[in-house]
Each structure stands twice: as structure tokens, then as C-alpha cells.
């Protein structure tokens, strides 16, 4: 019997109550939001439950919403996949803008190790319990987190390109 989204929703609400909310079918992806402190419990439940069986972590990434309220400025997005039923699910956990931290799922899914490092590298989100949380793609000496919206794309110190010819001034927003 195919796994229906109503089943998933019912099981999650039954186990976690208030911590899971905003259920939504976006195109062909069933998505929900989870309170950040319950994330490891929810993901472990989704992985181990015999009917849900979301055994594969497809993707883990971060998003920065500087225009939101302070408690919801960072989001960590988990895409899980159930290969037996071909069902995908997306889980979002919003984090505080000033001190973004969330428990690591690297002991549940081995592949999340580097994905969490990449999210830390880009956004500065602290993954509690990660075995080796340090930068992965950028240089180790870098102090800022480049994917945050306030960080500019271009290197401010470059001398060979004149920003005036690109229609932008260095300090302003680059859109």
C-alpha cells in the first residue's frame, strides 16, 4: 500500500504534537516545519518507523532570511527520501538569527557530516554534537560566513575590475 501524506502527517502529529506544524504539499513534495530542539527526534522517528521508512537523507542545506523576526532568521532544510515507496519529504527548522544552533544528525545519517560542515561554513550555524565542525569549502582563515545575505559576492579588494562599469557601487546592495 502506498504511503500517503495523510498517514505521514497523522503519525507525526500523534508522536510530536505541537513540535511539527505547517504541513504543506508543495508541487510534488510534502513539507513540514519542526521546532529546532526536536529535530533529531523527528528525523530518527522518520528513519526508524516501519511504515514511514525515510531511510535516505538526500540533502541538507541552510537558508538565511534576514528580513524575518529574530527567532526565524536561519533555516536548516532536510530532504529525506523513502526509496521503497518513492516518497520524498522536506523538513525545515528555523533558528535564531543571533545564535543559530541545532543538534547534528550526523550520528543518524553518516552523509550529513559534510553537508553540515558546508552549512556551517556558509552560514555559521552551529551543529551541536558534530564530530568535526570546521570549514570545508572556504579557506580556514576566513572569519565571516559568506552565504549570509549581508556578505557581498565580489571580493572587495580586487583591483582589475572597476565596479562602475558593472553598474554597481561597492557599498550598495548588488541586486
Amino acid at each position: 500500500m502506498a504511503l500517503e501524506t495523510t498517514q505521514i502527517q497523522d503519525k507525526l502529529v500523534e508522536t510530536f504534537g505541537e513540535s511539527v506544524f505547517h504541513f504543506n504539499q508543495e508541487k510534488d513534495l510534502f513539507s513540514l516545519e519542526v521546532a529546532a530542539d526536536k529535530i533529531t527526534a523527528v528525523i530518527l522517528f522518520l528513519k526508524n518507523d516501519p511504515t514511514l521508512r525515510f531511510h535516505f537523507l538526500t540533502d541538507l542545506c541552510g537558508v538565511h532570511y534576514p528580513d524575518n523576526v529574530v527567532e526565524r532568521q536561519f533555516a536548516v532544510v532536510y530532504h529525506l527520501h523513502n526509496w521503497y515507496e518513492n516518497k520524498r519529504i522536506k523538513i525545515k527548522a528555523f533558528l535564531n538569527g543571533e545564535k543559530p544552533e541545532i543538534k547534528s544528525v550526523s550520528n543518524i545519517f553518516l552523509c550529513s557530516n559534510w553537508m553540515e560542515r558546508e552549512t556551517y561554513d556558509f552560514y555559521g550555524i552551529n551543529f551541536i554534537g558534530h564530530p568535526q565542525l570546521k570549514r570545508i569549502l572556504n579557506m580556514d582563515e576566513m572569519i565571516s560566513h559568506p552565504m549570509r545575505k549581508e556578505f557581498p559576492m565580489e571580493d572587495g579588494g580586487r583591483t582589475d575590475k572597476d565596479d562602475r562599469f558593472f553598474g554597481r557601487t561597492p557599498q550598495k546592495d548588488n541586486k
Binding site: E26, K27, D28, L29, S31, H55, F56, L57, T58, D59, C61, V63, H64, V77, H79, W83, N86, R88, K90, F109, L110, C111, N113, W114, M115, E118, F122, R135, I136, L137, N138, M139, D140, P146, M147, F151, M153, N174, K175
Partner: protein, 412 residues
């Protein structure tokens, strides 16, 4: 500058001090990379070795980090394809089509059947070229240079087909929202037919060179095996996973672009070692050739190559000079002011290395708010230190080669 020099408080330094072999020899540290002739791309592995045997490895990547995701936040939607090209640059059409399909999912655009079949043909051609490079370079790494030279000639033939379709050889920037930018010329189909006639002979010869070759078998059987459970835990997808015995293929699990109309098997290996990965890629090339033939045979009549969505697809230039609506659409599309809903979408395609995913968050403006690429190489390369534990140094090179790690996709 990462770990080019080993500081005394490094983990390996402590292990070397504490470990003592019976014959009095010590453990050593070897730095493999970042520039190394046999690593195809720049990534560094600091290896802790006991003689020739590898005990531990610590990988460092990011030497070609080009900040694609940051660039994507500053580019209109149709300018993202040059970025996707340069991720897995051995099979760029697959990434391009994956991006366009993500946009079509976001905008609910229905692509006509003929354009979908053409997309299937070009994606399977790209898959053939990707496996072609991977397997021939695996041959080069085990010492057999001939296979590479012989088979690379056919990659030139595929480049000629790409040139007929989109004008470029390697980084194709192919396709538009809703289809292709121009119809395929008769020359493209003619070159495709010649390729389909000549390539199977060459590929059979290539397989014969390696598959029952005693030296190759000795170098690749039981080298770098990985079990199916480990592979799934490490996020493997694509030929590396199928070599371990799991038949997950995005084309079958979530068919896109009319893949459900075609009849193909998904080759699966047993032990996940290097030889199985090599054979799975060989078999996939045969399946891709069969899919291309089926698509050519079943191609719908006519010359429809794009969806009728004037809001997103550039109208023909002749109309722009006469027709007011076309002029307005042309202006808006080029300026990037296309109507985009505020939504989140995730779409994935089966790339040469596995599931290439695009997670797109839009906010109604002319550029993506957040675009994240799910890059298979980045995810499965995490398993490399575990795969080479206990292996010899030369095996580590062969394992790396068979994993088909492409640096552009690793670092993005």
C-alpha cells in the same frame, strides 16, 4: 592554507608517537595532492601509512570553490545554466536540463513530447560521455593508455553533435525554459546516426580490452568494496550505489521528461568494488545507447521544440519587430522580469554520478532567493577515507578514479 604542514598537535602526530611496530619501523604521513597526476581534480588527502598500507585518511576539499550558490543569488534565472554546466563538466547537458526542469516545475510549464524526447537523447549522450571518460581514465590509472585515446575520439564526435544543437563543445548552456533554443538540424540527426553506428563497435573493443584482462582484474576486483548499507548511509547514488547492489535510479523512481516511455534496465553490481563500478558504467552505456535508439524511433512527428509559453520563452525575432506583444515579452524576458511565484521547489535528475538535485527558493524577484545544488560527488566523497582504509597506496588511486569524483561538482 589547510594542512600542508603537520602541526605537532595534529591527530596523526600523536598516533605516530604512540604506535610502535615490532620491527622498529614507524608510521608515516603522506600528502596526496592537491596537485597530483593521478587525482583527477584538486583534492588533498593526508594519509597515515604503515609502509604501503593506508591506515587513515583526512581529505581536504575546497580548492576550486567558486561560490556557485552565491553567484546564483545574483543572476536571473536563465543565466544559471552556465553555472550548472560547470558543476559536472563532463556531462553538462544533464545539469542544464535538470535546471530547466526545475524551472518548469516551479512555473508549471508543460513541455511538448518531442522536446522531451530530444532532451532524453541529449541527456543520454551526456551520460555516455561521462562514463566514457571515467572508465577510460580508470584504464589510464591502471596503466592502459590506449583505451583512453581510442574512446576519446568518440567524445569528439559527441562534441560535434553538441555543436550542432547549441554551438558549444563542453560547457553547453543548452536549452531554454520549455524546450530548446532551436530545432535540431538534419545534420545533428545525421551525426547522431553515424555515432550510433560507429560507437558500439568501439565500445565493444574497449570492453574487451579490460573486462577479462588479467592485469585489470587483479587491480580492480575486491579493491575498495562498499556494502549496500554503508553506501546508503553515506548518501551514495548513481553508478557507485548500483555497483553495491541497490537499484535506485531517479529515472525509474521519479521519472521525468518521458523516461517512463522507454524500456531500459538498471544494471546493478554485487560487491561495490572497483571492478563492479567499472562494469556498471559499461552496462549503463549500452542502456543509454538503447534509450537513444528508442527515442529516435518513437520521436513524434513535426518540429515542435519548445513549449508555447511566451512569458518565459523568447519569441522569434521576426515577430519582435512587428508584433507589440512579442516586443513586450522579449523585453521582459531579457530584463529578467518574468512572473515567478513565491515558492520552494526541489527537482532532481539522474546525472552521471547520481542524483543531481536543485533546491530552489524564490521570492518573486528576478533572481533566485536561494539555490542549492545537491551534488552527488560532494556527498559520496565522504566515504573515501573509509573505502581506502587498509588498502595499498596504488589501490587508493584506483578507487578514487573509479568513484568518478569531478572537482567542479565537489566544490561548486
Amino acid at each position: 592554507m589547510s594542512e600542508l604542514l603537520l602541526p605537532p598537535e595534529h591527530r596523526y602526530a600523536k598516533i605516530i608517537q604512540e604506535h610502535h611496530n615490532e620491527d622498529g619501523s614507524e608510521l608515516s604521513v603522506l600528502n596526496l595532492g592537491p596537485t597530483h597526476p593521478a587525482t583527477h581534480g584538486i583534492f588533498q588527502n593526508v594519509l597515515l601509512m604503515d609502509g604501503e598500507k593506508i591506515l587513515e585518511a583526512e581529505p581536504t576539499i575546497g580548492y576550486i570553490h567558486r561560490a556557485f550558490e552565491k553567484i546564483a543569488e545574483n543572476r536571473p534565472f536563465y543565466q544559471i545554466t552556465p553555472l550548472t554546466d560547470r558543476m559536472n563538466y563532463c556531462s553538462s547537458p544533464i545539469n542544464n536540463m535538470g535546471w530547466w526542469m526545475t524551472m518548469e516545475k516551479l512555473l508549471d510549464i508543460e513541455v511538448p513530447k518531442r522536446a522531451q524526447y530530444l532532451r532524453v537523447i541529449v541527456m543520454e549522450l551526456a551520460r555516455i560521455t561521462d562514463h566514457l571518460i571515467c572508465n577510460s581514465i580508470l584504464g589510464v590509472d591502471t596503466g592502459a593508455y590506449t583505451g583512453f585515446l581510442y574512446v576519446f575520439q568518440f567524445r569528439e564526435k559527441v562534441y560535434e553533435i553538441y555543436e550542432e544543437i547549441c554551438g558549444a563543445r563542453l560547457t553547453t548552456n543548452m536549452g531554454r525554459m520549455g524546450g530548446f533554443e532551436r530545432d535540431w538540424s538534419p545534420e545533428a540527426f545525421r551525426k547522431l546516426d553515424i555515432f550510433l553506428r560507429d560507437f558500439p563497435i568501439a565500445w565493444k573493443e574497449f570492453e574487451n580490452l579490460f573486462e577479462r584482462n588479467r592485469i585489470f582484474i587483479d587491480r580492480t576486483v575486491n579493491v575498495g568494496p562498499i556494502s549496500a548499507e554503508k553506501a546508503m548511509a553515506y548518501g551514495f547514488t548513481g553508478p557507485n550505489l548500483r555497483a553495491a547492489g541497490v537499484d535506485y535510479d531517479v529515472r525509474v523512481a521519479h521519472p521525468y521528461s518521458s523516461y517512463e516511455d522507454f524500456d531500459f534496465i538498471v544494471p546493478v553490481g554485487k560487491s561495490g568494488d572497483t571492478y563492479d563500478r567499472f562494469c556498471v558504467r559499461n552496462a549503463e552505456v549500452w542502456e543509454s545507447l538503447s534509450i537513444i535508439r528508442q527515442a529516435l524511433a518513437k520521436m513524434p512527428e513535426g518540429n515542435e521544440f519548445h513549449a508555447d509559453v511566451p512569458a518565459y520563452y523568447l519569441p522569434p525575432k521576426e515577430d519582435v519587430y512587428h508584433d507589440m506583444e512579442s516586443l513586450i515579452y522579449h523585453f521582459k524576458i531579457v530584463m529578467g522580469e518574468i512572473p515567478v511565484p513565491v515558492a520552494e521547489v526541489y527537482h532532481s535528475v539522474e546525472g552521471g554520478n547520481g542524483e543531481v538535485g536543485f533546491y530552489l527558493v524564490t521570492d518573486g524577484s528576478r533572481t533566485p532567493y536561494r539555490l542549492h545544488f545537491r551534488r552527488p560527488c560532494f556527498i559520496y566523497y565522504q566515504a573515501y577515507p573509509e573505502m581506502i582504509k587498509g588498502a595499498m597506496l596504488s589501490d587508493a588511486i584506483v578507487i578514487l578514479s573509479s568513484l568518478n569524483v569531478i572537482a567542479g561538482e565537489l566544490d561548486a
